[in-house]
């Protein structure tokens, strides 16, 4: 394991190496060398299985972190490759030539986060959302509650009271620390 | 006092005297709130009197055989004087002691009499006083001995 990481560090600008548990490590690499690293891992290091590709929105830092989870069946080791991309320039090299299912993930990320993967097949075909006219819904700023409250009405006859407020009104309206 | 009416008249008079006693004291006391309490005692005595009047007129019967709980609180307390600056505690002690004395009086009286209707009436009066004593002793237990 350590040898692998040493090799990777020699050839790639990887950082933030984090051993999450025995059998699982994550590391971070720059956007431009990510595709080469992943290819290298697949072809030379035995990480032949792509578990999934996903994205984490760090809206407060202005970045999307793409996560490529790779697995080596021989060493039973999982390696998570993290790639930060700018939220304003949400574009990443496509890896659809590396795994058959990669383009599906990329198509989903396009729909859900708006990330572009130039060259990825069927990228702009609707995946789950047909006729979606809002911002990509998995972005943090998309507020599901606001959306549903705008689209759907509330049921008539529903109201709820807060126990402490109700008790104050019923039992001691003139006391307590919040009127005066 | 040889007849039932005589003994009842005596008892009624005693209750009236007690009511007067508290009313008089209420006029003299200094502590705020005492007056009201003593007037309440006086009213209680008036109620006792009304009950006895009802017995005399036959509307109500005494219950000499009924057992009355004796808390024995007043038995071991010292005597206090009914002064103008009497406290709540002492006023209750005075009241308990008065009821106890009445109870003793009638019980002793009954003891000396042979079995008769008169004796029954006197015993009934004793029980009546025991109940008054319990009333004030319960009050004492509730108020004075509340935290004890």
């Amino acid at each position: 394991m350590n040898e692998l990481l040493e090799r990777l560090q020699r050839h790639f600008d990887v950082n933030n190496i984090n051993v999450l548990k025995p059998g699982m490590t994550t590391l971070k690499i720059g956007k431009d060398s990510a595709e080469i690293l992943i290819r290298e891992l697949r072809d030379r290091e035995g990480y032949t299985h792509l578990n999934f590709i996903t994205c984490i929105d760090y809206i407060e830092d202005g970045i999307f972190t793409l996560v490529y989870m790779l697995h080596n069946y021989d060493s039973k080791h999982t390696l998570g490759v993290h790639v930060d991309i700018d939220r304003e320039h949400e574009e990443m090299t496509s890896i659809h030539t590396l795994w058959a299912q990669a383009w599906t993930y990329q198509r989903e990320l396009r729909e859900m986060y708006g990330i572009n993967f130039p060259g990825s097949p069927r990228l702009d075909e609707d995946f789950c959302l047909e006729g979606w006219d809002q911002i990509p819904p998995m972005r943090r700023e998309f507020d599901t509650r606001v959306f549903s409250e705008e689209r759907f009405g509330h049921r008539e006859g529903r109201h709820s009271e807060v126990p402490r407020v109700h008790m104050k009104m019923e039992l001691y309206p003139k006391r307590g620390g919040d009127e005066e | 006092m040889n007849t039932v009416d005589e003994i009842l008249d005596y008892a009624i008079d005693q209750e009236q005297q007690a009511a007067d006693f508290y009313e008089d004291l209420a006029g003299r006391v200094e502590k705020g709130g005492m007056k009201e309490i003593l007037m309440e005692f006086s009213a209680e005595e008036q109620r006792h009197k009304q009950r006895l009047l009802a017995v005399k007129s036959g509307e109500h019967e005494l219950t000499p055989e009924q057992e009355v709980l004796d808390l024995k609180i007043s038995d071991y307390l010292i005597d206090v004087d009914a002064t103008d600056d009497i406290s709540y505690q002492d006023a209750l002690i005075v009241a308990m002691k008065r009821e106890r004395a009445a109870y003793k009086l009638y019980s002793d009286m009954a003891e000396k009499l042979p079995e008769s209707h008169l004796r029954k009436v006197i015993l009934g009066l004793a029980k009546e006083e025991a109940r008054h004593k319990l009333f004030f002793e319960s009050e004492y237990d509730e108020r004075v001995l509340r935290d004890n």
Binding site: P163, R164, Y172, G176 | I37, V80, S87, E142, N148
Partner: protein
């Protein structure tokens, strides 16, 4: 092609003679499994309306709605959960979190109606056929969604504690406080029960956030004695904490103390940031106990010039003289008092109304008077021999110790009484090296003292003799000793009502000899400083004032509070009386302004 593969499928016919899987409904009823998560049951009598079910429901399927029949019960919000079956997903988290275990599920799963609004009901209030179903989902024994046990406070061991007057409870560490604060379900039922209506859930929340300054600000909105109450409060809040129904209540008092302990007194002015704009009004306060100083604090915040008249030589009243330092160290009481005084409260010590200055004079000189003189006169037993020199009063013993004087109790002591003063006198006596017997006329369970005090006094080696009624004090052979005659009591149900009453058993009398007898059977008020006329005007009942709204007495400008004006006679009630009287005085002095919203240091309406 294989012949077997051609014939084998005909095996299917064998099944034609087997019993079918299906059954015909409704001919054959098929109830849900005993633990089935079906329609909701609420045992409304046991429910306290804490709303934890509402909080945990991820579908917003539960509303808390008023249920008239449960309104106004102690420790009960009067609300009950109402279910919207258009949203419910029958996960049962509401059942799992229910603090009273009153919420359950039945194994009923069929409910047919053409009206969708029918599927919206208040369980246990609206009549439903499954309310009494014996079967259905219940939370399993041993399954909890919050820790049922409280974080134990570190205490001095009884062996150590009797050696000195050092504080017994050591205080929570930050880690302990956060764990304990985590147990709060934030229902706020305690807020209603707290006499001062402190923002308990909010200041506990501030502990979880590690924001102790915010916590301090929240506490001062309703209580300027948090260091004190964090130690010796009677904590009615904890008695209604729903977490205590199935487990142990949240240690609200210790959490309050934790917040105060985290903040240095020198930072108070910056944190509390009480801005005072002088109003020009002058208010007199009689008694520098918790009631008087609480009123002083809130009046001062409104800009009124406050003068406190105190008969003793220090402030704090019963907190100073009646509560021993192993429960409330002077430094902590002083922390609270010093901040109040720092706002410009003028305290005149050693000034007795009626002797040094006349009550009538105050009425003339001040715009309003708040009277909170407490209960300072020990009650008498009124038994034979009580005036013996070796019969001491509990209050006196405590006051002597608090002032650094030797109460001269000797080495074998009998304490009479079952209240906190009796327990404190007993525990103080243990610390002075005496062997202590406590005589109490009723059962231990009847003792009015805090359970904790009873427990700790026993731990510290005080011998409690319950159902013991003193009947006479007798001079002993030696002048420095005294004998007490007492009798055993039986508890008898009073047919006229009330609690069971002790009845002396005259055939079971005992006489014991001690170095002294400490009488601590209660205390009364001393209102002799008021003239007979004033006393009549102020409406006194059984030695106590009977205030009206806003603690106002029958005299318009006189407000009353504290032990002398309430039945609970504890610090937190006195503090609230002072706060409420300050509101009343503000309304009196500023009749047009009391509705105006002002902003305090928390940035929220004060």
């Amino acid at each position: 092609m294989n012949l077997r593969d051609l014939l084998s499928p005909f095996f299917v016919w064998q099944r034609a003679f087997e019993k079918p899987y299906t059954s015909i409904r409704p001919t054959i009823d098929r109830p849900g499994a005993p633990a089935y998560r079906g329609f909701h049951i609420n045992v409304s009598e046991e429910c306290v309306g804490c709303g934890s079910c509402h909080s945990i429901c991820q579908n917003h399927a539960i509303d808390m709605v008023p249920a008239a029949e449960f309104e106004g019960r102690t420790g009960d919000s009067g609300l009950r959960p109402r279910f919207d079956y258009g949203r419910c997903c029958w996960c049962g988290l509401c059942v799992d979190i229910c603090t009273a275990a009153s919420l359950r599920m039945s194994n009923e799963y069929a409910w047919i109606s053409e009206d969708p609004d029918e599927f919206h009901f208040t369980a246990g209030v609206d009549d439903k056929p499954w309310q009494n179903n014996e079967h259905g989902y219940r939370r399993a024994e041993g399954y909890h969604l919050y820790p049922p046990k409280r974080i134990e406070m570190d205490m001095l061991s009884p062996d150590e504690s009797v050696q000195s007057f050092e504080e017994v409870a050591r205080g929570y560490s930050e880690a302990q406080a956060k764990l304990e604060a985590d147990r709060c379900v934030e229902c706020g039922i305690c807020v209603a029960t707290c006499p001062a209506h402190m923002d308990v859930p909010d200041y506990i929340h501030s502990i979880r956030d590690g924001d102790y300054e915010k916590g301090l600000q929240l506490m001062y909105r309703t209580n300027p004695f948090p260091a004190t109450c964090g130690r010796i409060c009677t904590r009615r809040c904890e008695s209604v904490c729903p977490v205590g129904i199935l487990g142990e209540p949240v240690a609200i008092r210790w959490l309050k103390r934790f917040i105060v302990d985290q903040v240095d007194a020198k930072d108070y002015p910056r944190i509390l940031n009480d801005q005072i704009i002088e109003s020009g009004h002058r208010v007199a306060i009689i008694g520098a106990g918790p009631g008087g100083l609480s009123a002083a604090y809130y009046l001062r915040k409104k800009g009124h010039a406050v003068t406190v008249f105190e008969a003793g030589e220090t402030a704090g009243g019963m907190l100073r003289y009646g509560v021993p330092s192993y429960r409330l160290p002077d430094a902590d009481l002083d922390k609270d008092i010093a901040y109040i005084v720092s706002l410009g409260v003028d305290i005149r010590y050693n000034t007795r109304i009626g002797k040094d200055i006349d009550f009538e004079q105050l009425l003339q000189d001040y715009a309003a008077v708040f009277l909170s003189t407490g209960l300072s006169v020990p009650s008498n037993m009124r038994i034979q021999g009580e005036d013996h020199a070796r019969v001491l009063s509990g209050l006196q013993v405590l006051a002597d110790v608090a002032s650094g004087r030797d109460p001269g109790i000797g080495s074998r002591v009998a304490v009479i009484g079952g209240g906190n003063v009796a327990m404190d006198a007993a525990r103080v006596s243990r610390r002075l090296g005496a062997e202590v017997t406590i005589l109490y006329r009723r059962r231990i369970a009847d003792m009015p003292a805090d359970e904790e005090e009873i427990h700790e006094s026993q731990e510290e080696g005080c011998n409690i003799v319950p159902q013991a009624i003193p009947v006479e004090i007798i001079a002993a052979d030696k002048p420095q000793q005294v004998s007490i005659k007492w009798g055993e009591a039986e508890m008898v149900q009073d047919p006229t009502g009330g609690r069971p009453r002790p009845v002396l058993q005259e055939d079971r009398m005992h006489t014991d000899t001690y170095d002294c007898i400490i009488s601590a059977i209660g205390q009364g008020s001393d209102l002799d400083f008021l003239s007979k006329e004033n006393q009549q005007q102020l409406a006194i009942e059984w030695g106590k004032f009977t205030p009206g709204e806003y603690q106002q007495s029958a005299l318009q400008k006189v407000f009353v509070g504290g032990d002398v004006a309430n039945r609970t006679a504890d610090a937190i009630s006195a503090i609230e009386d002072g706060h409420h009287a300050a509101r009343g005085i503000e309304r009196l002095l500023n009749p047009d302004g009391f509705t105006a919203t002002q902003t305090d240091n928390t940035g929220e309406p004060a």
